[in-house]
């Protein structure tokens, strides 16, 4: 099963996008998307974790006994999540205060477990690493789109920088700051992509 690099990326970004098509990992997709800065930190964390844990688990795939596979995967994943947590805390304590608990929840992000189980468990290290990067990018793509809708409408800023002539046209749309809007944004996004890409699952 030698999948070419471009095929892996195309599959993970579009046709099997983890968030939109497989509805995985949306807990954090909803919670951190009200500010683009938080989203970017979160995406970097997820990207790093999927890529590295896929790589490591693929290297270990022949030595992990079948019965304790689950707990081994969780242990490897949480090791990388701890690294991410410490790094975010060092880089930006403000962001960490807000997304802190959600960083811990990367461990139970279904995308990572899912890729480890579905891909890294049966493929060699390099494709697994690429698959991890691609899935992480697929996740990031969706989160960034949602954040780009929510932050300008909710706060009138992008990356904390005020939009031009904000006072003339912008009126705070409170619901965009609230968690609820993420559900609607994500639902509409699924709708649009499903229609664009066509086909049912």
């Amino acid at each position: 099963m030698a999948e070419s690099t471009s095929a892996i990326f195309k599959r993970s970004l579009l046709s099997e996008n983890p968030v939109l098509r497989q509805v995985l990992g949306i807990c954090s997709a909803l919670a951190v998307t009200n500010l683009l800065t938080n989203t970017l930190f979160m995406c970097a964390g997820v990207l790093f974790t999927t890529a590295m844990s896929n790589l490591v688990l693929s290297l270990m795939r022949n030595v992990i006994p079948q019965r304790i596979r689950m707990i081994t995967q969780v242990a490897v994943i949480s090791t990388f999540v701890m690294v991410v947590d410490v790094v975010i805390k060092a880089l930006s304590p403000d962001v960490h205060r807000f997304i802190g608990p959600y960083v811990g929840l990367i461990i139970t992000n279904c995308i990572i477990m899912g890729r480890a189980e579905a891909f890294a468990a049966s493929n060699s290290p390099w494709p697994s690493f690429l698959d991890g990067v691609a899935s992480g990018l697929g996740y990031s793509l969706v989160l960034i789109v949602i954040a780009l809708v929510r932050e300008p409408l909710g706060f009138g800023t992008i990356l904390g920088i005020a939009l031009p002539l904000k006072e003339h046209w912008w009126h705070q749309w409170t619901i965009m700051v609230m968690p609820t809007s993420a559900f609607f944004a994500l639902a509409l996004l699924t709708w649009v992509t499903k229609n664009l890409l066509g086909g049912t699952k």
């Binding site: 919670a31 689950m70 949480s78 701890m82 608990p101 811990g104 609607f184 699952k201």
Partner: protein, 192 residues
């Protein structure tokens, strides 16, 4: 007593894990098609959250903090959760095979349910004692169960309706949850 009641209500309703913290979404969307399944999964979650919140409280305060190992929190918590789930599974299998028949298939799923780990992590941000931590875990679990049962009841109805093609399945479920979350916003501010 009132204090415990307040913790329970705030964990179950105003800070509902599913509707205002977004935890346990994956399993909620995947398993809310039928209300029987939702009830089974919900019960299993209540069991596990109550026990793991209390255990993780003990581990964090009496093992990790005294030995200065707070940075190992994530990995310790997830291992405690995985071990508890395994243990509960064995106990239920011995004690009550009929209960095992209902809950058995849901238990392994729970290890990767973010609501469980989430409750333990949010608990750290609050100044709780042991019993409060247990009540918080219990309340969080009950809130999650109530939410998933409401959602599954609505989904059973929706299945018979015509929905725009692109929105079928996850799309419409997200919208339902969104509307429910809006309703739950009404509860915020009820408890300070």
């Amino acid at each position: 007593m009132t204090a415990f009641f307040l913790i329970f209500i705030s964990a179950a309703i105003t800070d509902n894990m599913l509707l205002s913290r977004f935890l346990g979404m994956c399993s909620c969307i995947g398993l809310s098609k039928k209300s029987d399944t939702a009830l089974g999964l919900g019960t299993a979650v209540v069991f596990v959250t109550s026990i793991t919140a209390a255990l993780n409280f003990l581990v964090y305060n009496y093992v990790l903090i005294p030995s200065g190992l707070e940075y190992l929190t994530f990995i310790t918590f997830i291992i405690v959760i995985a071990a508890t789930v395994q243990f509960i599974e064995m106990v239920i299998e011995r004690v009550s095979p009929s209960l095992y028949g209902t809950l058995g298939i849901f238990l392994p799923l729970i290890t990767v349910n973010c609501a469980i780990l989430g409750i333990s992590l949010f608990m750290l941000n609050k100044p709780y004692g042991f019993i409060e931590a247990f009540v918080f875990g219990f309340g969080g679990g009950v809130g999650w169960m109530v939410a998933i049962m409401l959602i599954s009841a609505i989904r059973e109805r929706i299945n018979e309706q015509a929905v725009p093609r692109g929105l079928e399945g996850p799309g419409i479920t997200l919208i339902i949850i969104g509307i429910m979350a809006l309703a739950f916003v009404g509860f915020s501010g009820m408890i300070r």
